[in-house]
């Protein structure tokens, strides 16, 4: 019997929800398909990021310790974070993973190539890989490590997002771990199971407006080579271990486009689709807890970084305030809220839903997993609402830091002394409120679509939605209270 610590794939079938509109991008714009099929495509899009990542590491180590004058803090925690959560994820799924420099050297060492493909017979693939190519331990084949990793980083976020050296060390360690794991384990083990960023990208990519899928699943059914996942002489085995023939959600597709290159039937395409309308299934407790953790962290980050309570800021900012007792309370409180209290509240809402709807025929586990989708758009839009003031208030630092990235006294573009200029700070709540309400709307819409699959009886359906809706409403009100008072 699966233990609570393991991913527990649900025994219920993954229903095909009613077909939604989608637009075949590659069919409409073949030049884009030709572009991603180029062997050098990935390298060309990663190289600029590699340069930036290197610059960030140098800046973190050898640049000014003042956060708002150092490119690693300003570009990563203001610009990149905002673009990632507000644009890249909702509109581009895991497109950050397409250009991420962290696994670059690991891939290079495994493949012994930056561009070309090596056909071969490394275990399970039709390519030749260097390294031990071990299988990641089954007990860790889930996203629990990513859940705890992100929570750990979030506990020290006051340091992480303000101290250049802390950011540099964290990214440096992640880079070294990614490279080391690539030499020991197969494919992109780091990205699949360890990277904290990958953890939340996997969750929120479910809402995205793009998807990479097979065009005709019957073609995949009869495909003898399964080159998408095994690789071929034209493309590497899927670094994410995803089988395109049945792929029905974005979570673990890193948009590297190797399958587009390797598919012998030219049967893979990029599609546009409506926001938060397609991937509605969470498959294990690890994913549910991820949704809970991210929603709670959106709240605690808002309290800590945007709120008026100096005491909480001091508790989090232990390296300067030196209030270790307060930091302990903050860390323990955040962890308790994210891992126990909020999931407990959600579980309670599910139990109430079952009772109120007299839904004895639906297993609690099924309802718990399926209704958890509502936390995904809710969490994403809460994070967007949190990120908006970050860039509106602090975005002007980007202008000064591009001229003096290391705080050494450069003035490359003449903007080094551009003053701090908050942009429309008084209008921030006007932007946050509709975003939060949109999160509630999409959460509700997701719930209703899922409920229609579970409850043919309209009365049961409506009753089953009441308790989770009350919970979501409560969460929305808490955020609204925090943002607009």
């Amino acid at each position: 019997m699966a233990t609570a610590s393991q991913t527990t794939p649900i025994d219920v079938p993954v229903e095909a929800l009613e077909k939604t509109w989608r637009f075949d991008v590659f069919a409409q714009w073949p030049w884009l398909k030709r572009l991603v099929r180029m062997r050098s495509f990935q390298f060309l899009v990663i190289l600029p990021n590699l340069f930036m990542f290197y610059l960030f590491l140098i800046a973190g180590l050898f640049g000014t310790p003042v956060g708002n004058r150092n490119i690693i803090i300003v570009f990563v925690w203001i610009l990149w974070w905002f673009v990632l959560i507000t644009v890249l994820v909702p509109l581009g799924s895991r497109s950050w993973c397409t250009v991420c420099p962290l696994p670059f050297f690991g891939d290079w060492l495994q493949r012994r190539a930056v561009v070309k493909v090596r056909p071969g017979k490394s275990p399970g693939t039709a390519n030749s890989f260097f390294g031990l190519h071990k299988r990641w331990p089954k007990a860790l084949s889930n996203i629990w490590l990513q859940n705890f990793g992100f929570l750990f980083l979030a506990t020290f976020s006051a340091l992480l997002v303000t101290r250049p050296i802390v950011s540099a060390v964290v990214f440096g360690v992640m880079f070294l771990v990614a490279t080391g794991l690539a030499l020991v384990y197969r494919l992109r083990t780091f990205c699949n199971y360890v990277c904290p960023i990958s953890g939340f990208l996997s969750l929120y990519a479910m809402t995205s407006t793009v998807e990479l899928r097979s065009v005709d699943k019957d073609v995949c059914l009869t495909c003898k080579t399964k080159s998408c996942i095994r690789g071929s002489e034209k493309g590497w085995a899927c670094p994410w271990n995803v089988y395109m023939g049945k792929l029905d959600r974005n979570n673990y597709c890193g948009l590297c486009f190797e399958c587009v290159k390797s598919c012998p039937n030219d049967n893979i395409s990029l599609f546009l689709r409506p926001f938060s309308n397609s991937d509605l299934i969470l498959r294990g407790y690890d994913e549910v807890w991820k949704a809970c953790i991210m929603l709670v962290l959106a709240l605690t980050y808002s309290v800590m970084l945007l709120g008026p309570w100096g005491r909480f800021k001091d508790w989090a900012n232990v390296s300067e305030a030196h209030d270790w007792g307060g930091f302990g309370m903050f860390a323990a409180g955040q962890a308790l809220l994210a891992l126990v209290i909020f999931p407990g509240l959600y579980y309670l809402s599910i139990r109430l839903a079952k009772w109120y709807a007299r839904a004895d025929a639906v297993p609690t586990k099924e309802l718990f997993l399926k209704y958890a989708y509502a936390l995904v758009p809710m969490g994403l839009l809460a994070w967007i609402a949190f990120s908006v003031p970050l860039v509106m208030v602090n975005g002007s630092y980007i202008i000064s830091v591009i001229s003096d990235p290391l705080g050494w006294g450069m003035n490359l573009f003449g903007t080094a002394e551009f003053p701090w200029t908050p942009f429309w700070p008084d209008r921030v709540p006007l932007i946050q409120v509709p975003i939060l309400l949109a999160g509630f709307y999409f959460a509700q819409r997701g719930l209703q679509r899922i409920a229609r699959q579970l409850f043919p009886d309209p009365l049961q359906l409506r009753r089953s939605l009441v308790p989770p809706t009350v919970l979501l409403l409560g969460v929305t009100l808490v955020f609204l209270k925090l943002f607009i008072g």
Binding site: T7, P9, S122, P123, G124, A126, H133, R135, W136, K138, S141, N142, R186, N192, D218, C220, L221, T222, C223, K224, T225, K226, I229, R230, W240, N241, V242, Y243, M244, G245, K246, L247, D248, N251, Y252, R283, G284
Partner: protein, 163 residues
């Protein structure tokens, strides 16, 4: 021996051979996918590939008896009956395919093929073709029985170790 290229019985037998050959190839790919990753799944898929190849060889024998040499064909059959596939696209990410599920995967493929031939044999007015479909249906039934036996054996072994 009938030599008519347009003979529906001949075409049906040829199609069935192509399907078995294709499926053997698919099982080979699935076996290789788990090579070095999960030896028990690799073994199961390899065994199923061997069964399909044997199945194809048996059908080729029948074809040779009736129509002479089997023409070589590089065309893949377009039908999707009896095509085994991973049901879970994330099986290799989360290590979530069990040996039992792999056997169920093959069983579903064989059952769908048996059902297809059974329906075709009931539908077709041609007595010759009907006989062929019935024969194929029996072939598939044999395969279904074999997989069910393997599945029962797996489940018995699993329940005995869990006590």
């Amino acid at each position: 021996m009938s030599s008519a290229q347009g003979d529906p019985v001949r075409a049906t037998l040829l199609r069935a051979i192509q399907i078995e050959t294709r499926n053997a190839g698919i099982y080979d790919s699935l076996a290789h996918l788990f090579l070095g990753y999960d030896d028990s799944l690799n073994a199961i898929f390899r065994e199923m590939a061997d069964e399909e190849r044997q199945h194809g060889a048996d059908l080729e024998l029948r074809f040779r008896e009736r129509f002479g040499p089997v023409p070589s064909s590089t065309e893949d059959p377009k039908e999707v009956i009896e095509a085994p596939d991973l049901e879970d696209p994330e099986a290799l990410i989360f290590d979530s395919l069990t040996a039992e599920q792999a056997l169920v995967l093959g069983l579903h493929a064989e059952e769908s093929a048996r059902e297809f031939y059974r329906q075709e044999s009931a539908r077709t007015p041609d007595p010759g073709l009907q006989a062929v479909y019935k024969e194929l249906c029996e072939f598939e039934q044999g395969h279904v029985d074999l997989l069910k036996a393997k599945l029962a054996e797996k489940r018995r072994a699993a329940s005995s170790t869990s006590r």
